[in-house]
Symmetry: C2
Subunit: 366 residues, 2 copies
């Protein structure tokens, strides 16, 4: 299922291959975020064009809208979306724990209010697995309890206890082998709790591990400390997935610590605000001076946008608030992230990962 192909001698970075029911995903990899069954502004054809081998969608949000039965009837999420690569699904625990869902813990799971129709809903670890299997997900994630940063220790103790209980329930709930299931390490920024959670999840033998509950407000160094600790605790032969991260530098810093999989709305959300990512850094396409730049968004870039459009034109579109502009920048930025990961894999293979990371740090700042 997962194979480490090459390890960096200096850092913890590794190149690997994750084989799923829908093909090969070369790691380290970055998953575009298709929370509700689509990457905002971007078509499945464009995802293919930028070289996305995998993406992540959200089980609970699809469960609420359009409904699992709609997606299942369509023949699963791959066919529904028109995406042929690997699909990860997040359980959705992270989303329903946001205030707007008015969540409440009960013994069996979480009760919350649907923001779509106001109805009271309940989610359990068993339901989450069933939803993900029904969607035809290639890699599912257990329901976990992901508290925000900065609460009292007792809340994280509770989160670990609950997450571990749900981990066992999730494993028991599996009904087929087609979907890999990843456990989620919680424990806030408390090393002892993280250790306890990771060790128990390792005993349970998930097919991969998510580093959950990070990038939720804690300082970056603290996050990286936790990432480092967890990568030491988790088995080398299983993939590690840092959820919700992030920027080019953060992603590579975590790769250096042994993380294999990432997801973030970062490249597409920033695109919608006009931030273009390039090997020379990022810039704002909406600035008037770009109207006079009749070059691609990034010189030498081979993405479908840079092959056809100029900065001036994209700038014009963005300044007119035309969705086509947001789409073009989204496609370019996703392509940039794919190249960033490809570069990371190549650098690991060549024993040059530390230099690669250093180079990206220089361009984007720490």
């Amino acid at each position: 299922m997962f194979r480490v192909v090459c390890e960096d001698e200096v850092s913890g970075a590794r190149e690997g291959v994750l084989e799923t029911a829908h093909g090969r995903v070369r790691t380290p990899c970055f998953l575009p975020v298709a929370t509700k069954g689509y990457v905002r502004m971007v078509s499945a054809g464009e995802l293919r064009e930028v070289g996305a081998e995998a993406l992540i969608s959200n089980a609970l949000l699809l469960y609420m809208k359009p409904g699992v039965e709609v997606v299942a009837e369509a023949g699963g999420l791959h066919r529904f979306m028109g995406f042929e690569g690997t699909i990860f699904t997040d359980s959705g625990g992270f989303q329903v724990l946001r205030r707007e869902f008015m969540p409440r813990f009960v013994t069996s799971g979480i009760v919350f209010r649907s923001p779509f129709d106001g109805s009271r809903q309940a989610v359990t670890p068993e339901l989450c697995v069933a939803i993900q299997e029904a969607l035809g997900s290639d890699v599912g994630v257990q329901l976990d309890d992901c508290p925000p940063y900065g609460l009292e220790r007792e809340r994280y103790v509770e989160s670990v206890r609950r997450t571990l209980r749900w981990a066992e329930a999730s494993l028991r709930a599996r009904s087929c082998d087609d979907m890999m299931l990843f456990g989620v390490v919680q424990g806030g920024v408390d090393p002892e709790l993280r250790r306890r959670c990771a060790e128990r999840l390792v005993e349970l033998e998930f097919q991969g591990y998510c580093l959950g509950g990070l990038s939720v407000g804690e300082p970056k160094e603290v996050m990286m400390g936790m990432v480092e600790l967890m990568c030491e605790l988790l088995p080398l032969e299983k993939p590690r997935y840092l959820m919700g991260v992030g920027s080019p530098v953060e992603v590579l810093e975590a790769v250096a610590r042994g993380v294999d999989v990432f997801d973030s709305a970062f490249p597409t959300r920033n695109a919608r605000h006009g931030a273009v990512y390039t090997w020379r850094g990022k810039y704002s396409i909406t600035k008037a001076k770009n109207l006079r730049v009749h070059e691609p968004l990034e010189e030498g870039c081979t993405c479908p946008v840079c092959r056809s459009y100029s900065r001036a034109y994209v700038s014009h579109l963005m300044r007119c608030d035309e969705p086509l502009g947001k789409r073009l920048v989204s496609v370019h930025n996703l392509h940039f992230m794919m190249r960033l990961m490809e570069g990371a894999r190549r650098a690991i293979r060549r024993g040059e990962f530390p230099e690669y990371l250093q180079g990206v740090r220089r361009v984007f700042g720490r």
Copy 2:
């Protein structure tokens, strides 16, 4: 430049070919509307995919934003937009005469307020030609005075007088032969005024004629009467362009009267509101029942959307208010209009145009 290839024996419909600096446009044709240099939601690649041989943009709006010098620097509008086919440009008179532009007639043209920066601007027929030439338009349109429907006769007399004066000024202002220039027939719904305007424009020997000042609120039969009258007055060997029309039936009704070129935001604007056009009629994709239809938007359709996505998925996107949904329906509807026109050309060639029109009428109603 323009050649009638085939005439229908029963109606006034004709098949033709317009040769411009950027290739061949088979007529009757429908121009997607790229007012500000883009078709809303749709990329140049998608315009190519749906088979659009030509589109129309707006000279004055581009003049105000991003500015002619930006487009000229880019190498002209074709390169700026990434569209390689024929580009028509409307003068923009129609737009600046809307109330939000606070227009005022002066001897030499129209003074108005830019909605972008509030500045006072003036447009003259000479400036309009210069802008269109600088944009690299293949087919320009003279500045005209296009009043709304339902005013006193004197207003239309004035409109014809002004439009004819500007027609002469436009012809004198031309500085090169690359751009064809079309005159605009005005005259409201007054046959006598229409005749006077058309006859004088014919004397001036434009390369084509726009039927202007229609589809501005008058009853449809009245509009068709005017179209019929003008097509009788205009030379057979010149292309006729009915501006701002329209729906499938309106377009074909006007084809039957001898019109060759159309433009309208109709297919894309309706798409953004969820109306899908098909050979079996139109339907609203946002309706919940479409979530259960795992078939293309239109069975048998060869457009890029129908080849990759289902009604259920597009409905989900639209119900999430995701721009990707609006884009997919826009692409499908444009493809539908291209097929509608292709069907019209084929029907004319085969001597079956009246039956073709009848069939489309049956599907869409009168």
